[in-house]
Point group: C2
Chain length 232, copies 2
């Protein structure tokens, strides 16, 4: 049995929801000025603190955004998948400095749109702007909700929660296998722990028949029990 972890996922610009709010002319403007960039697995899109003058829309692949904390350890803020927008902060920050770093988890394709173009669209199209603000403010909420859970949940609960959210975001194949290839270290960085601790929790989950682990593949066996455990 072959368990393929990385099915090709791809979206076209016209399939990206937030761009629905644009007129044909505006779409044309984007087509004219945006360009596609290709990133090999493990290559860096941008670094936290570096100057950036455009936004990125993921078309294919998976990109992790992260921040490096003291002691050099890093925390993964999110895994961006096709349709997701990155680096929008640079639109408004006067210094256009990136708040996070971004790295390709697999070979990826992103659409880069210069800030000047996006700003033009925002200025002229209120429903687009409103959608954008909604998106950003929901990111605030996501962070705060996560933080609230984080400060009082055990690693076990957080890990269950992470697995469920990965299932939600990336889906599973016919055998219940998560459609995402990700290292233990990255999983650990997403729940704010070290790989050793994460591995122990996963091993517990396997022992309890909540998931199965076949090399790097995670197979969901009992989602409803996981959900109880996650305490969402």
């Amino acid at each position: 049995m072959i368990l393929e972890a990385n099915p090709t996922r791809e979206v076209k610009l016209q399939d990206i929801k937030i761009l629905d709010y644009l007129s044909d002319e505006e779409h044309a403007l984007i087509e004219e000025h945006a360009h596609t960039r290709y990133y090999k697995k493990r290559s860096i899109l941008f670094h936290e603190g570096s100057i950036n003058s455009g936004i990125y829309i993921v078309k294919k692949g998976v990109i992790k955004t992260y921040k490096v904390g003291p002691y050099g350890r890093y925390y993964i803020i999110g895994l961006m998948k096709p349709g997701d927008i990155m680096a929008y902060h640079s639109l408004f920050s006067n210094r256009s400095v990136n708040n996070t770093s971004a790295k390709a988890c697999e070979d990826s394709e992103v659409c880069y749109i210069p800030n000047s173009i996006v700003t033009k669209l925002l200025e002229s199209n209120w429903s687009f702007t409103k959608k954008m603000m909604e998106l950003i403010s929901s990111d605030v909420n996501t962070s705060n909700t996560f933080l609230t859970g984080f400060v009082q949940k055990s690693l076990r609960e957080r890990t269950a929660e992470l697995l469920l959210s990965l299932k939600e975001d990336f889906g599973v194949d016919e055998f219940g296998g998560l459609q995402l290839r990700i290292t233990r270290k990255d999983l650990a960085c997403m729940v704010g722990t070290v790989p050793e601790s994460l591995i122990r929790v996963l091993a517990d989950f396997k022992r309890e028949r909540l998931v199965d682990l076949v090399s790097r593949k995670i197979i969901f066996l009992d989602t409803s029990e996981l959900r109880k455990l996650a305490n969402i």
Copy 2:
């Protein structure tokens, strides 16, 4: 010696930075539709999950915004002071549901502006909108930065960091005393711990002559050492 913890702090609408971007007419529109609300210490402004159709601008006092996690413990997202804007999420969320709860830490005064008015301003005034987006996206960054630090810093480091940021936000009197009256429990909720643990850290700081503690008053003795400790 009298150590007064709560000097009257107050701002007028015209002193609020984000409103600088409005024209005289727009200011008039706000004056017409906004109204001031008064909240007694410990009273609730709004609850997470409840419907809300306006934004709040703090004019006087201190308001804490917080979320309740599983097990009923809560996490304080921020202390809002005069000039700060709350509940902006309700502007964009289609259901206008509050993401956080808000409670007055002392007798406070806030200006309530209905969403319909704010939306009108956003639609017609791009620099105001831009400023607003900047504000929101900087909140995203604040949360993520905090989260990144949180997941890998010790309680001691986080507490040092909290004290410094309170000093920054609320200032100190001539004796180095923090101009904010706050309970140990609230301090604990801001660094994601329980009061007992926070108290022990504060007691350590006192023993090390970094701060002095006179009842609920926190007096800064060695800010630079605290800064080293906070590892920012």
